[in-house]
């Protein structure tokens, strides 16, 4: 009995001594760090992603949130120069950017200036660099007798296999030209569903036939899931030697080179296709869609899209030099400090899932993410505009050494009229004037100011800045909507819009023939309280010229259906450039691309013969003054017809910390991770400094609780000691 309190006092003493020691130990690192302390000094890039990638098979993937990963793993033949603007294609695994070879009907080479009618086919001969190796992968693993270890596996072999890392052995092999051919053939694979197969079948000779052929073959197959595409020739793609192959197109298509820089044209080793096609693999969730295999600077070592994705340096990567030249301002911005050095500069990239923007933003401010976008909620905290209207960081951001990068995106957000609609569509003068009046009335400058925090540039036509064909200043002014005043564009007045309404036969928003008020419908998939302010604003804009706007909000599926069937009247849409060519925007108004007939991307169902002819001419031209002239004509036609309210081109704002280097926005390239550099020492110091635990509020709360309960305890004691009289 005598020892018991002694023991307790000893314990309490020890405990009390431990508290400050524990706190002191913890102060050396951050309690709120989501990463392990060992990682703090490593060359790791930290970022977040908000949506899990749907596909990691390069032939199926067509989404920017997938390209974040695929761009670092797979290497197509070409890439965009990291620093130069306008965007320029340079070789990646190819030895040079291929030149088109024009062929006549007999397959003979024609001169470069051959007439279009003489050209029967266009060929691109591509040579790849020798010595490029794939990342370590079990598909390449061989035993001593050079037989593949994991190409004939049965269900028993898979008993203890749950992920790719459960395979004990891995191997590699050199990249061959045939791997690119194999991937092109995969576009025709009946089970892969490549989104560009339809487009490529239009151009690559024989791809449509291969597609039909494989469809039949695949249905007959019963023994194995593997369809060895090496056994099926593709007429338009020929292997010349181990490092060279040739692609032949049916017609001139200069934009094809841009496609060669996209992940659809990444190499695919047949060994990987066979490996993943084995029975039982699908049941184990081991597939090419989950475990990519490439030659790029990084490889996916952890694919847990519900928590995090981890890319690690590919030990077999050959190394690539950082660009030695760029734009004139790049040197001043320190973007050429690594010129000529071997990339990649980081060992690992950790992408954590953040579904909500608020935690992601707060973790960026704590230093746990190296880069961040700016959502509307945090815009005022991060950015302020000076008296000249230029965006600059707030003092809070500047104190943390955070940097701001802005760039006008190669995107356009517009409001479209369904040209198949009886009221707003068609080629009648009345409808055209009505569309012009609405174009003037809807004040996109105000929209950008209110709803995009000033992050946008009002559009004068379909082409955004940075794309050939875009004209700046007065030259690029849409005079149907704007005037040139005081050396800048100025939206035409509402009185002018009302005059147009009168000319269209809608004085004060009433149809002068029937006397009925004009009611138009905006079809949108957006709904909920978040969109209410936007819709109210739109109603107000239309009401300026007496039009009642009815917002027909529906779910996304029904909205898509309306668009396909052409039953929408006015809609909002957007487009993000696949490649930096005006064709990628003008095709959104090309008649044969109409959504209503062909399920194409011409959502407005706009048709104009002259425009279509000019489009056919423009799409295969080089970027010359002649092409600019054709583009100007096309822009004038669509401005006159006004199938869209041209809307605006968003300006992207991104933030990064001081320890993150070589940050230059490149809207076309997907493989920019290899250029990035981080300073982990500075990052670790800042993280500790910014994240010191704060204890006093906890102690204060405990003290308050104690103070409140003390009288209650006294009350209890009094109650217990009360005597019954």
């Amino acid at each position: 009995m005598a020892n018991k309190p002694k023991f307790n006092i000893k314990c309490i003493k020890r405990f009390l001594i431990c508290i400050p020691l524990f706190c002191a130990a913890c102060s050396q690192s951050s309690w709120n760090s989501p990463y392990s302390p060992e990682e703090s000094k490593e060359l790791i890039y930290y970022d977040s992603f908000s949506e899990r990638p749907k596909h990691l098979d390069p032939v199926s993937s067509y989404s920017s949130n997938e390209y974040i990963f695929l761009g670092q793993i797979y290497e197509p033949l070409l890439q965009y120069h990291f620093l130069r603007r306008p965007y320029e294609l340079i070789p990646l695994t190819a030895t040079s950017v291929p030149k088109p070879i024009y062929l006549d009907i007999n397959g003979k080479k024609l001169p470069d200036d051959a007439l279009d009618e003489d050209i029967h086919a266009i060929s691109y001969r591509v040579s790849i660099k020798p010595g490029i190796l794939y990342q370590p992968h079990p598909a390449f693993a061989r035993d001593d007798s050079k037989k593949f270890l994991y190409h004939k596996m049965d269900k028993n072999d898979l008993d203890k296999i749950y992920t790719l890392s459960d395979f004990k052995f891995s191997g590699t092999r050199e990249l061959h030209a045939n791997d690119y051919i194999y991937q092109i053939k995969r576009m025709a694979h009946p089970q892969v569903h490549s989104p560009i197969s339809g487009l490529m079948e239009k151009y690559i000779i024989g791809l449509d036939n291969l597609s039909k052929n494989l469809e039949g073959v695949y249905q007959d197959k019963s023994q194995s899931n593997f369809l060895n595409l090496n056994d099926y020739p593709l007429e338009g793609v020929k292997l010349i030697d181990k490092y060279t192959f040739e692609i032949t197109l049916k017609e001139k298509y200069p934009q094809f080179l841009y496609w060669l820089s996209m992940s659809f044209f990444s190499p695919m080793p047949w060994e990987a296709d066979l490996f993943y096609s084995q029975r039982g693999f699908e049941d184990k969730n081991i597939s090419l869609d989950w475990y990519p295999v490439g030659t790029g600077p990084f490889m996916l070592t952890e694919n847990n899209p519900n928590r995090r994705m981890v890319l690690e340096k590919n030990p077999n990567f050959r190394g690539e030099s950082y660009p030695v030249e760029g734009e004139s301002s790049d040197e001043d911005m320190g973007l050429l400090e690594d010129a000529g050095k071997i990339m990649p500069f980081i060992d690992k990239a950790v992408y954590s899932l953040e579904k909500e923007s608020i935690p992601a933003w707060n973790k960026f401010l704590q230093g746990y993410y190296d880069t961040s976008g700016i959502v509307s909620d945090s815009f005022d905290q991060a950015v302020q505009f000076n008296s000249q209207g230029d965006a600059q960081l707030t003092d809070e951001m500047q104190e943390k050494g955070i940097k701001l990068l802005t760039t006008t995106t190669t995107s356009t957000y517009y409001m479209g009229f369904n040209m198949a609609d009886d009221l707003v569509g068609g080629t009648s003068e009345r409808a055209r004037l009505l569309r012009h009046a609405i174009s003037v009335a809807v004040d996109y400058e105000e929209y950008i100011s209110i709803f995009a925090n000033g992050r946008g540039l009002s559009a004068q036509g379909p082409i955004p800045p940075g794309i050939f064909g875009y004209n700046q200043g007065r030259e690029g002014l849409n005079e149907y909507v704007y005037e040139w005043q005081n050396n800048s564009e100025s939206r035409r007045s509402i009185e002018y819009a009302k005059e147009l309404m009168v000319k269209a036969g809608y004085r004060d928003g009433r149809d002068q023939l029937t006397g009925k008020a004009l009611v138009l419908n905006l079809d949108t998939p957006a709904a909920g309280p978040g969109s209410k302010a936007t819709f109210d604003w739109y109603r107000k804009q239309f009401m300026k010229i007496g039009i009642n706007l009815v917002v027909r909000a529906t779910d996304y599926n029904r909205f898509q259906e309306k668009m396909r069937k052409g039953t929408a009247q006015i809609f909002q849409w957007g487009w993000n450039a696949d490649y930096p060519d005006p064709e990628n925007f003008f095709f959104l108004l090309y008649g044969p691309n109409a959504k209503i007939d062909r399920n194409g991307e011409n959502a407005a169902n706009y048709k104009n013969k002259k425009y279509d002819l000019l489009f056919d001419q423009m799409k295969s031209m080089k970027n010359t003054p002649e092409r600019q002239d054709v583009i100007n004509q096309m822009i004038e036609i669509v401005r006159y017809d006004a199938p869209w309210l041209w809307g605006y081109h968003p300006v992207g704002f991104s933030l990064h910390h001081d320890w993150y280097k070589n940050a230059k926005p490149n809207l076309m390239a997907n493989n920019t991770l290899k250029y990035k550099r981080v300073n982990p020492i500075l990052r670790a110091e800042n993280r500790v400094m910014w994240n010191q635990p704060v204890w006093w509020p906890i102690l204060l709360v405990l003290f308050i609780i104690f103070t409140i309960l003390l009288p209650a305890f006294a009350l209890y004691l009094r109650k217990e000691n009360e005597k019954i009289i």
Binding site: S30, W31, N32, S33, P34, S36, R52, K54, H55, S60, Y62, P190, Q191, H193, P195, I196, S197, G198, L199, E282, D283, K284, N285, S287, D289, N304, N306, R307, S352, L353, E354, K355, E356, I358, P359, A360, N362, K363, Q366, Y368, D555, N557, Q560, N599, E601, N691, Q692, P693, V694, W695, P697, I698, I708, L709, P711, A712, L715, Y716, K719, E720
Partner: protein
């Protein structure tokens, strides 16, 4: 008892069929198989042929509920509903529309959900009962009155406020734990603290009031008066007699939710980036992945029914008067 359990299991069958039908109808009212195909194949450049192929591969090319062109029983069996529902009853969840094994994903993702829900339940239960007892003990005093007012205020605040406020206060301002994220093993502890704390604080208002009511009701009963008359201390009465007699309503509320702990929490998991089954379900709804949605709804229903049966069984343990027959 075995007979009782078997009988309840048999009753569950029509409930599960009904739940399955309702899920099926609700889902396909909003999404057609074509919409699902488009969502999966991507919105850009999706050809009609690709949509047809996608539906063929996943069995969505059949009529939804009734196959007019088939004969006999095939009119019912050769439908999307039948083909997708039957396997569920043997817990074969099949593959998601993106090709993943749903059973495997559930087995992986239930652990993060449990890592949040189990501590939340235990800590919450202990705290709420303690608070309830304290308020009941000090009934009528300033502690009770101010406690009840505080509870009413706390239960009037949105759960989202606690989440965002908790992240701001504990994670961003005090720098004590990570704002969001998850890790495996013991490393998960620092990620679990904040969601558990937020869940605890968010539930204090309603739960404390509920437990207080239970205990006050018990404290007005004759056996408590007798205990007082015998000279027992208030604390002894409270913890020895009131608490044990108040267990039946507490069990009703707790045992029924035990199996559902596997399902996780939809909002908490989303805000704290916890890779559990709650976020799995939300993701599936957003991606229009019917295979996952129907599996999760089915699993949720089964677990809820199990919870109800367990509640009935637990009555027999805490109250000898209850017999399952």
């Amino acid at each position: 008892m075995i007979n009782y359990i078997l009988r309840r299991a048999a009753y569950a069958l029509p409930i599960l069929i009904g739940v399955n039908v309702i899920t099926f109808v609700l889902f396909f009212v909003v999404n057609t198989p074509d919409d699902m195909a488009r969502m999966n194949l991507g919105m850009k450049s999706v050809s009609e042929a690709a949509i047809v192929k996608w539906k063929d591969e996943r069995g969505y090319n059949k009529p939804i509920l009734f196959n007019q062109s088939a004969s006999g029983t095939k009119k019912l069996t050769e439908t999307i509903f039948f083909q997708n529902s039957v396997k569920l009853f043997v817990f074969d969840f099949g593959r998601s529309d993106s090709g993943r094994d749903i059973g495997y994903d559930i087995s992986q993702r239930m652990w993060p959900s449990l890592a949040i829900t189990v501590p939340s339940l235990i800590v919450g239960l202990l705290s709420y009962i303690s608070f309830g007892l304290i308020l009941a003990f000090f009934r009528g005093s300033y502690v009770d009155v101010s406690g009840v007012i505080l509870c009413v205020i706390m239960m009037s605040v949105s759960g989202l406020f606690y989440i965002i406020g908790g992240q701001y206060l504990i994670g961003k301002f005090l720098h004590l734990v990570p704002i969001s994220g998850y890790d495996t093993g013991f490393n998960a502890i620092k990620f679990v603290i904040l969601p558990v704390l937020v869940g605890l604080v968010g539930g204090i208002g309603a739960s404390t009031r509920w437990y207080r009511t239970i205990f006050l009701e018990e404290m007005n009963k004759d056996y408590v008066r007798t205990a007082r008359a015998k000279g027992l201390s208030e604390l002894r009465i409270l913890y020895r007699h009131v608490l044990s007699n108040g267990l039946i309503p507490i069990l009703t509320g707790v045992v029924v939710i035990l199996p559902s702990l596997f399902i996780g929490s939809l909002i908490v998991e989303s805000f704290f980036a916890i890779p559990g089954l709650g976020s799995y379900t939300i993701d599936a709804i957003n991606r229009q992945d019917f295979a996952i949605v129907r599996s999760m709804v089915f699993l949720g229903s089964v677990l809820y029914i199990i919870g109800l049966i367990l509640t009935d069984i637990s009555y027999t343990f805490v109250d000898p008067r209850v017999r399952l027959n």
